[in-house]
């Protein structure tokens, strides 16, 4: 009304258009689509079994209780032992921490060597590395099991760390190589004239410049290794089964009534680590990706 008589001046007044409203509707529906399962899991985990039996999936819990969470953590049964999913949590940490460190370090060194030192056949090597990343990894499992048992590292934490390092190598090498390839080569030449060798240049100059990309690598590897199921099942050994495998055992080994609330709580607990990593580092994640575009 007042806009109609006003002379155009300054910022144009906002007016909803059908296209705009449609866009918001679409975004809302998409968000609900992804949030709905999470919502159901959270409310179910806070309910008791009698309430769940009423099958009002979307209702809020009448008397929210963390009993299911505590049972999932301390006392849920995986097969015969009933020590809860915390055993798997510890195992996953024991696998993830060294795997993340070693795989990133190996990937960073490989990417650095490929982009600056250019050994003979570097292009071919890199091509093969990337090509291999596209082969379904199930193909490698049986040969690797044989190799590892020959070497005596099958069913052990070092074994699974080696596995994660090997399978993380293509991605880690790719992102580090691309990061280093974008740095001016004169930097490398200057360091060589200054007398620094392979490791000194890597440690004193290149690694400090790779900080944003290291954050990206940590996020990728933490998420990937934490969510891994098949490698953990095959290579970690019975004593070291990761959380994902234990979760599966809890969900699949039920005697009598299915404890939906415990299963939901266990699932949420398993998903906590990647979620926390993402929420803490989301800002860094974007920054790391953007850092590749502009100069460090």
């Amino acid at each position: 009304m007042s806009a109609a008589i006003r002379e155009p001046r300054g910022r144009r007044p906002w007016k909803p258009t059908p296209a705009r409203l449609g866009l918001y509707a679409f975004l809302l529906i998409s968000a609900l689509f992804f949030l709905m399962p999470l919502y159901v899991m959270v409310v179910t985990s806070l309910k008791g079994m009698p309430e769940i039996r009423q099958a009002h999936l979307l209702n809020l819990p009448a008397a929210p209780s963390f009993a299911a969470w505590s049972k999932a953590w301390f006392a849920a049964c995986t097969g015969l032992s009933c020590n809860g999913i915390r055993v798997g949590f510890i195992n996953s940490l024991r696998i993830m921490v060294p795997s993340v460190i070693v795989s990133i370090l190996v990937g960073a060194i490989t990417g650095y060597a490929l982009s600056f030192w250019r050994p003979r056949g570097a292009v071919l090597l890199f091509g093969v590395l990337i090509a291999v990343a596209f082969i379904p990894y199930q193909v490698f499992i049986y040969p690797l099991v044989r190799i590892f048992s020959y070497l005596g590292i099958n069913n052990s934490v070092p074994g699974i760390v080696v596995i994660h390092t090997i399978f993380g190598l293509p991605t880690m090498t790719l992102i580090f190589r691309n990061h280093f390839a974008a740095l001016p080569e004169e930097l490398f030449k200057a360091a060589r004239v200054d007398g620094a060798g392979f490791w000194r240049i890597f440690g004193a100059i290149m690694l400090p410049m790779a900080l944003p990309i290291i954050v990206v690598a940590v996020i990728l590897q933490v998420t990937g290794i934490w969510n891994d199921f098949i490698f953990g099942l095959v290579f970690a050994g019975r004593e070291n089964l990761p959380m994902t495998v234990q979760l599966n055992n809890i969900v699949n080994s039920t005697q009598g009534e299915r404890e939906y609330n415990v299963e939901m709580a266990a699932t949420l607990l398993t998903a906590t680590v990647p979620l926390v990593v993402y929420f803490i580092s989301g800002r860094w994640f974007v920054r790391g990706i953007a850092a590749g575009a502009v100069k460090g």
Partner: protein, 361 residues
């Protein structure tokens, strides 16, 4: 480290796979000499510098620095220091750490490191920047730090790879003077790569003009400027550029240059080798070597098309018949288009080039 600094390239060849970059280049640079490698981009001058530094592998030949055969030496063992076009400062280190990095790698005693950093910082007036990061420096300051990093190495030979190309015109001329002053003060050998002919002329004791991966001419700035060995050198060096008039040489005993609009006897021209009678040639003369001579009987007449005042002098764009000819005149000359000037082309300032291969006659 000894500060011997004569550099000698003996039959150096560089190849990237099957592609030959250089074939058997020879070059002698004397102790304390300032040699400039000048050429257009892609002529191989930077590759040559990298080969001297040991950053590019050579396929044949030898490189001698300070009387030692360093062909197989690592860059750090060659007694060289290098300054790069992009400065190549280590971004995560402050200026002090940048300056001292090489010394720390070499495990120099701390007191000695401190002393050398202080001397270099003083010499380049970067003492108050020592605790800053490269990102907090301006372009000129960054290049000073890069030069400082070369200084602390206390090397006998300094290699500069287009160090001023990323700077604006004002800073460039400032740092140019500073580099020259540094050379006089240190007495070190310097090899300097550039595509800027002004830098080459102002800095060099000798210039090596390169094109297509070979040396065209190696000589003092004056030789290069006044007696270019071929048409390429003549055009590449000098601004505004040399004038060229195509024509023929006639008469064996008393040679005369003849073109459609110009007849010029050149009896005293010192031919490097006498051309055949009637051979096609190009006559070259620099704009500042043309003399105004209103009263001379043998003067040529040109008409002014346009004039460009340059502050210190004035460049007149004229036509001799239908040939363009630029003439450098005193700044206070008043010209309007259409004016006619009478000029002389002094014989001792002429350059004659073979029209077929561009070589000086």
């Amino acid at each position: 480290m000894d500060r011997q600094g004569n550099v000698s390239l003996r039959g150096v060849a560089v190849a990237y796979g099957p592609v030959r970059v250089f074939d058997r280049l020879d070059l002698e640079v004397a102790q304390s000499e300032f040699l400039v490698l000048l050429g257009p981009s892609g002529c191989g001058k930077s590759t040559l510098l990298n080969a001297i530094a040991g950053l590019t592998e050579i396929d044949d030949g030898e490189i001698w620095i300070g009387g030692r055969n360093v062909t197989w030496h690592e860059p750090k063992d060659r007694g060289i220091a290098m300054v790069f076009q992009s400065y190549a400062l280590y971004p995560r280190m402050n200026v002090r750490a940048n300056l001292s990095f090489g010394l720390r790698v070499a495990r120099t005693p701390r007191a000695e490191i401190e002393r050398r950093v202080r001397v270099a910082a003083e010499m380049l007036q970067i003492g108050d920047l020592l605790d800053r990061r490269p990102a907090e420096l301006s372009g000129g300051q960054r290049q000073r730090v890069a030069i400082g990093r070369a200084l602390v190495r206390d090397a006998g030979v300094f290699l500069f790879d287009e160090p001023l190309s990323n700077l604006d015109a004002q800073l460039r001329s400032e740092l140019r003077v500073e580099i020259k002053r540094l050379h006089q003060r240190l007495g070190a050998t310097m090899i300097y790569v550039t595509h800027d002919q002004i830098e080459a002329l102002t800095l060099a004791d000798r210039i090596a003009v390169m094109k297509d991966r070979t040396f065209q001419q190696i000589g003092t700035p004056q030789e290069i400027y006044l007696r270019p060995v071929n048409r390429f050198v003549a055009t590449f060096v000098g601004s505004p550029a040399m004038n060229f008039v195509p024509g023929r040489i006639e008469g064996a005993g008393a040679p005369v240059f003849r073109s459609a609009s110009l007849r010029l006897p050149v009896p005293g021209y010192k031919f490097a080798h006498a051309p055949a009678d009637g051979a096609p040639v190009e006559l070259g003369i620099r704009p500042e070597h043309i003399i105004l001579a209103p009263d001379a009987s043998d003067a040529q007449e040109v008409s002014v098309e346009m004039s460009e005042p340059m502050g210190s002098d004035l460049l007149a764009w004229t036509r001799l018949g239908d040939l363009p000819l630029s003439i450098r005149l005193p700044a206070e000359t008043m010209l309007t288009p259409g004016d006619r000037l009478r000029i002389l082309l002094p014989e001792n300032r002429l350059n004659l080039f073979d029209a077929t291969n561009g070589a000086r006659l």
